[in-house]
Structures are given as structure tokens and as C-alpha cells.
Subunit: 510 residues, 2 copies
């Protein structure tokens, strides 16, 4: 390794330590911190994040990148470098450009508008008063366009704003590439929803029986164990809104919450977060790059593919429950008394159009995302004015899900994202489902008896394939490269569509 | 406030944020961190501690101190400054000198010897092999002498090594001042122990009945509540070795452990740690000095005075249990069934010479400390060679406690302190008892009905007096100044001796 590369790794490791310390400060705030410590904690977090930012934009980083031949136009640098080194330069250049290309005025204005906008959004949602938020939304759209213009340099030169923003969360993606995969998905999900609606609804009333937190905790710990989540490298805690967070290469923690009258919420939340954690814990981008940004996950959507594959494709399958249902019944106390295996599997796959994205099932979830994708694209292109969002939202809800929100709080004001400037983030959620299904199909090609294996309780085969084909490389490849290498083709929604059709045919008998 | 003072406060606040972040990293490591994260956690801690150290020895700090007239000889600086500002300069100058006066070679050698010495000590203690540790002890004594020589400048010029080291933990103290208070104490404790030995032993067998962790936790939380520990500014967690730690001005956390067959261990540990926490939470050295080193506790011994006052003077008194014993019996489940009030109060005040300091009662504890004080003084002065420690230890154990350790593991190898270079630290533990008793007597002068108040369940009177007379000023005064201001006289062991005699007369009926 050349001395410049060595120094880049050294600087990056220190940033990584700061990022993990920051993660601890945030994890503690959500889990155990006494309430009155919140003011000083904000100062502690600002100090650490400021230091990480300062380190990552240091002129020395730019000089080292240049010395190794990495520029905005040619991010991977000197072709004589090893492949891992070139991939590493791509990651660092991308981050360095992103963090240095924004004028500090704009960074300050964005931060202020996020703060003001989120406060206004909280109030507007509580009071169902969209007009009070519209001005903030309009201002945020303008700032995001300015931000995108600043970032549209090097390989991104000439890109339109929404493309630049999408690429922030899903490197290598664009509105056109997303629209292509969503086009088939849109029609297929609608058609599937119609088929399901024509059949008698599934009964899931027994899932709302009381189940004490201690039983739910035992279920969560049992699932973490059978998914091979190493208790020496992570833990489970209780929070208001579950998340996974990385505090170190061997310290990836998950969280959940226990609803006494809906125990499958914590059950699937634990499988989901454990899926995220297994990804972070398996990253091994090659010797010399531990604790660098090459050991970061490839993208938000690839991350979601892991959580959703475990939660939905594995966790809501009959095959998975075959060897495990008896244990679940026992751990659940009396909550599943008298509920047969088939009834249980059907109940956890109930489909029903609903207003709130975060509560949606596997079929309608994608439609919630497509709605947001289309609307944020229109906001960024200027074809939709902020003030007209509620009408456009309600129209699309009717078109895609067949229902109309009774108010904006349950409509266009439901998500925090736009008030926080997170335009371009929503599609990752849906892409996660598509990647997951495509990975699963490739896994079945590699292991034709995959479902039998799962039905025998062998989850190691699944984890092992994911580790090799998705986890280990970290950020070495772009998401599009990962799916190509792992499955032999670019991302297509057909795998997810086929998976859903097969599953719901069995559940709803159409 | 002059601009130099303002800048000092600003720099100091940042250091304080780092110190609190460091405390979180350590707290998490002891409470919740997954085991395999330990390697990276060490790097995270080293990074933050390094930054804090770098900030505290920055030449700018030295320049600012000088600009405000603070020198090693005249630490409080310009007499025209406000009293709080002058006190603040004293604290900062003391810390700056201590951190800058040591050559980096010596700092490195000390760190290496601590690391080697502690590893050797762990093995020597496990194998009862003092000779394997003797060389390390000898080397550590030499290094501590060199360290003391480097620090013997300014107001400390000409001090002998042990005086310099004592002053590190108890500012303003010296071997002579300690010897003076310990002289009376030594004889009185011996005499008291003889009196107790002549009486029938107290029965405490019922304290070893089984009491589940959940009951013990309920007892701890109840005690924290009646001691007015604000749950919005702290919390209780379980660890192997209980401690209190400050993660923020409003985030002071305590810890405990639950021994199923000795529930009073967690009970008194919680009162002890809550005593520490109440001190840290009440410090308020005046506007403008929040989150600076003026808001640090005055000394380790003053800290111990608070924990021991609550644990022993309050927590082991009949007055305290009078209004609380019924609740305790209820919270303890069946563990105190059939145990009368008097028997309980006697049982928690049982005195018995024993080998291990950390398990000692209120009478013998001081003798364990005097033994260490005398031996470390002899090691530093050269009158005792490291290799002769075991014989000297055993001789003093016989002389002071009347017992002889069966091996060195239960004798001179029992404590971690000396292997870690903590010479001069032990006396603080005993001083804590002396300060506590003297504060208590002053409190009784201010509130002649103090014991009746406690017996009515009024602990607010105690806390309020401590807050005003001890806590609030933080590091504004030296420990000797605090005791003078709060009690009207210098530290004397007579208060503690009188307290013990009165208490054990009642318990043992001599």
C-alpha cells in the first residue's frame, strides 16, 4: 500500500471512531439517557459530529486523493492500484466531494430550515394544518435544488436535481432507472391488490390477544439466536421507534418495542432489525480496510433488502414457521392457543389498503412508495407546487390504493422525511423489496432445495449466501454492481412481483 | 468577565464535554457493551482522552492563565478578579501544571509500568506469588518518586514525594496533616475494637436469607427516591463492581449488583452511590462556571464523605430505619420475616476484624487504611523495600487488627492501587469518614433536632444542609477550607471517634 493510501486509511479510521462514538451518544439518548440530560447531550453530539466533519473535509484528504489520481471525473484514481484500493478511492472521493462542494452558507441555511421545517411539520401534523407547513416545504424544495446544483459536478455534471438527490442514497441510480423498475411494479401491485380484494379477508384477530412484554422479549431473543446474531457483538434494547445502529465493527445493536396487544409487531421488527445487523456485522472488504468507509454498507436500499428479506421472505413464509411454530406458541404463552399453523401463516400475510406507510403490508407498501416517488419528482421538477400537494396526494392515494385520507395528518403530513430535506430517500425502501426478491431467486438457483432447507430449520444457508454475495464487499461495489454480480442481471421488479403473486395465491386462494 | 477568562471557560467547556463523552464510553463498557466490542472501545476511549489531554495542555491555556496573572507560585492570579474567578484560576493552574510538568518520556514509562505492573499483579495475586510482583512494585515506587520530583514546583517546591502524591488526591494535604488526624484515630479504633471483642457477637445470619434481584432492585429504587435522587437526572444499572459516574451536569448515573444471599450489599451500595450522585448533581459554583472544572467536586475525600455519610451515618442508624423499616420488610419479600427492628439495626452494624479492606465494617475500615498509609509512606521514603512488604504488612495487620493473612493474596496483594501507581490515594477513603462525621456534628449544631427529623422521614434537611455547605461550591474551596467554613474548625478525627463510640455502645452494650 502506497504511503498516501496508508495515510488516507489512518485518517478515515479516526473518522470512523468518531462516527461510532456519535452512534453511542445517539443510542444512549434513545435507550437509557435520563430525560434532563438532553441539552448537554446535544452539545456532545454536535462536538463529535463537528470533529468528524472537520476531519473528512481536511485539505490533506483532498491532497492525498489527488496524489493517488482520484478526481471528481476519475474517482477511482490510478489504474495501477489494486481493485479494493480503487473502490476505496471512489467511496472517499464521493464523500469528499459531497462534503466540500456545498458553500457553508447553504449548509447553514439547510440546517436552519430542517430545524424550522421539522418543528412546523410536527405542529401542522398535530393540528391537521397543511397550509402552515406549505411555505416550509416550498423553501425546502428550493434549497434542495440549490444543493443538487452544487453537487452536479464531475461524474454528475448536468444531472437534474432529483437525479442528484436519488444518487445520494442509492449510488448510481437515477429517476429514469427507478421509473423503469417501478413501472412494471405499479401495474402488478394494483392488479394483485384487486385480486386480493375479490377474495374473503383473512382473519388475524387472534394476533391482537394480550402477550406480555416478557414473552415478547423471549420471542425476540429466540429469533436473534436462530438467525445467528452473535450476542457478543450486539444486543437488544427497548425504544419508542425501533432501529439498528453500528457502534463498532463488532458492536451492532438492535432495538424493538413491545405492543401488548400485537405481539407480532416486535416479532417482525426484531427479524427486520436483525437482518440489518447481520449485514453490518459481516462486512469484510479485505485486509487493511477494516474500520474505513469501504466497510460501510453499499446503500440504504441494499440495507433494506437484508432487513426485508429476513422479515418478509423468510419470516412470513410457511417454510420458516414449519420447524419453529411450536416453539413460538410456547414462548407466546397463551396468545396463540388454539391457532393452527395455516391460520397463523395466513394471519401474518393479511393484505389491506391503509392510510399509513409504516403500517402497510408487502403489497401496498410499494404503492405508498411509488406515490411518494412520483410526487417528490414532481415537486423537484416544478410541475407540482408545494401548496398543491394535498390534492395531488389524495388523488394518487385513490388511484393507487383506492382510499382517500380523511385529513392531511393521515395523508401528505404523515412522514417526517420531506420536512427534514430527505428528498430521494423514499425509493430505497421499495428497492429493498426488489433487491431482496432478486437475491432470493438467485439463492434458489444456487440452492434449488433452499425452501426445504429453511423448512428444516437451516437458516445458515441463507446467511452464508448473503454474506458471500452481498455483505462481505461492503462499499466495494455500487448497488447496481452488487445485484449484477450476485444475480447475473440488473435490478428487475419481476422477481418481487412473482414472489408476491405466488405467496398471495396461496394465502387468498385466487 | 475579561475576554481571557471567557476564552478559558470556553476551552474548558469543550474539555468537559470530552470528559463526559469518555464517561459514557466507560459506563457503556461496564453495563451494556457486547463483549467483543472491547478492542475498538479501547481505541474510542484513547481517542477521546487524547483529545481532552491535548486541549488541556494547549499553549493557549498557559498564555491565558498568565495573562490573568496566574502562575505556579501565585495560582489565583490578579487580586482584582472576582473570588470565583480566582478560585477557578487556582483549579486550572493546578491541572495545567500537573499535566504539563511531566516529561513525555516519564509519562510513557509510567503508562507502560502501569500496564505491565497491573498484569503482573493480577497473576501474582491469583498465584499468591508476591516475589513475581516485587520488581514491578519497586520500579513503580521509583517512577512515582520521579513524578513527584517533577511536580514539586511552584507552591509545592521542596515537598517530599509522598506529600506531593497525597496532594494530587486531597489538595492541600500532606503526610504531616494526615498523620495528625490518623494518630488519634488509630488508638481510638483499636480501643473500640477491643471493647467490642469483649462483648457477645451480634447475630446477622438472617441477612443471608435469599432475596431475589427484583426485590433488591425495588429496594434500591425506593431508597433513591426517598433520598431525592431525581430520576430525570440519573439512573441505576447493574455492574460487577458498583460505581457512580458523571456523563453530564444533569446525567449522573449509579450502579449496583445484587447478591441473592446478602441483599443489604445492594441496599448500602445504592445509598453509598446515591450519596456520591447527589453531590455531583448539586454542584453550582456560580453563573458562568457551569460545565467547567470549577464545577468539579472538591476532592476524592469530600466525595467519600458524602457517600459514607448517607450509607453509614444515615443508612445504618436506628433513626433512619424507624419510619422506613416496615417498607423495607415489605419490599424484601420474605427475607426479613420475623426479624425485629432492633435485631435488624444491630445486624447491619456488626463489627469483626477481617482480611479484606473492601469488606470491612466502619470500625476496622479505618485501620485497614492507616496500615496502607503507613506502608506507602515507608515505601516512598525508602525506609521499606518493596521486597519486604509482605512481612511489614502482616506485622501491621497483627498490630492493628489482631489477625494475620494466611497468604499474600489476602494480604498485601489484595488491592489494585499500588500496581496502578495510585500511591497517596488510600487515605482519602478514611478521610471521607472523618469529614462525614464532622459535617454531621455541624449539622446537629445547626439543627439540634436533626435525629428526630430523620426519624420522622425528613431527609430533606440533611440534603439541604449538605447542598449549601458542601456541594454547591464545587472546587471553589480546598477541602480544608470547606470543612473550616462548614464546621468552624479544621478536620479532626474526634467527631468520627465519638460517633463510633456512641453507636457501638448501643449496638454492643458495653
Amino acid at each position: 500500500m502506497r504511503k498516501e493510501m496508508h495515510r488516507l486509511v489512518e485518517l478515515d479510521r479516526e473518522i470512523s471512531l468518531f462516527i461510532h462514538i456519535d452512534a453511542l451518544l445517539n443510542w444512549d439518548q434513545e435507550t437509557y439517557m435520563p430525560s434532563k440530560a438532553v441539552g448537554e447531550r446535544a452539545e456532545q453530539i454536535a462536538l463529535i459530529e463537528g470533529l468528524a466533519h472537520e476531519k473528512s473535509i481536511a485539505p490533506e484528504v483532498g491532497d492525498l486523493l489527488e496524489a493517488l489520481g482520484s478526481t471528481s471525473e476519475n474517482p477511482m484514481g490510478d489504474p495501477a492500484l489494486a481493485p479494493a484500493e480503487r473502490a476505496y478511492l471512489r467511496v472517499l472521493r464521493r464523500s469528499f466531494d459531497r462534503e466540500t462542494k456545498l458553500p457553508s452558507d447553504l449548509v447553514g441555511e439547510l440546517a436552519r430550515e430542517v430545524s424550522l421545517g421539522q418543528a412546523a411539520w410536527i405542529e401542522a401534523r398535530a393540528k391537521n394544518d397543511f397550509p402552515a407547513f406549505a411555505g416550509h416545504l416550498e423553501r425546502m424544495v428550493e434549497l434542495k435544488k440549490l444543493q443538487a446544483d452544487c453537487l452536479a459536478v464531475g461524474a454528475s455534471a448536468g444531472k437534474k436535481p432529483y437525479d442528484v438527490l436519488l444518487d445520494l442514497y442509492e449510488p448510481g441510480s437515477s429517476e429514469a432507472s427507478m421509473a423503469k423498475v417501478f413501472a412494471l411494479l405499479r401495474g402488478e401491485l394494483r392488479a394483485l391488490l384487486d385480486k386480493i380484494a375479490s377474495r374473503p379477508q383473512v382473519d388475524d384477530s387472534f394476533l391482537h390477544r394480550n402477550c406480555p412484554a416478557s414473552n415478547q422479549q423471549a420471542i425476540s431473543e429466540w429469533l436473534m439466536d436462530i438467525m445467528s446474531y452473535d450476542p457478543g457483538r450486539g444486543r437488544l434494547d427497548v425504544v419508542a421507534h425501533p432501529f439498528t445502529t453500528t457502534l463498532g465493527a463488532s458492536d451492532v445493536r438492535i432495538t424493538t418495542r413491545y405492543l401488548p396487544d400485537f405481539f407480532v409487531s416486535s416479532l417482525f421488527s426484531t427479524m427486520h432489525e436483525t437482518g440489518h445487523a447481520l449485514y453490518e456485522l459481516d462486512i469484510a472488504p479485505g485486509s487493511g480496510f477494516e474500520l474505513t468507509r469501504l466497510a460501510d454498507p453499499a446503500s440504504m436500499a441494499i440495507h433494506e433488502s437484508q432487513s426485508r428479506l429476513w422479515e418478509n421472505i423468510v419470516g412470513r413464509s410457511a417454510a420458516f414457521w414449519k420447524p419453529n411454530y411450536a416453539s413460538l406458541c410456547e414462548l407466546a404463552g397463551g396468545a396463540l392457543g388454539g391457532v393452527g399453523f395455516d391460520a397463523f401463516v395466513k394471519s401474518i400475510n393479511k393484505v389491506e389498503p391503509s392510510l399509513i406507510r409504516t403500517e402497510a403490508d408487502e403489497v401496498t407498501y410499494g404503492l405508498h412508495i411509488i406515490l411518494r416517488f412520483e410526487l417528490e419528482s414532481a415537486l423537484l421538477s416544478g410541475s407540482l407546487a408545494a401548496k398543491d400537494l394535498p390534492a395531488a396526494w389524495n388523488e394518487k392515494m385513490k388511484e393507487l390504493l383506492g382510499i382517500t385520507p380523511p385529513d392531511d395528518s393521515q395523508g401528505c403530513l404523515q412522514d417526517v422525511h420531506w420536512s427534514g430535506g430527505l428528498f430521494g430517500y423514499f425509493p430505497s425502501y421499495a428497492l429493498g423489496n426488489l433487491y431482496g426478491a432478486q437475491f432470493w431467486d438467485a439463492m434458489k438457483v444456487a440452492m434449488p432445495d433452499l425452501e426445504e432447507r429453511v423448512a428444516r430449520g437451516d437458516l445458515g444457508s441463507v446467511l452464508s449466501w448473503l454474506k458471500t454475495n452481498v455483505h462481505a464487499s461492503g462499499s466495494t461495489y455500487l448497488p447496481g454492481e452488487i445485484v449484477q454480480r450476485a444475480t447475473g442481471s440488473a435490478l428487475e421488479s419481476s422477481h418481487f412481483v412473482a414472489y408476491l403473486n405466488k405467496k398471495y395465491q396461496a394465502v387468498y386462494g385466487f
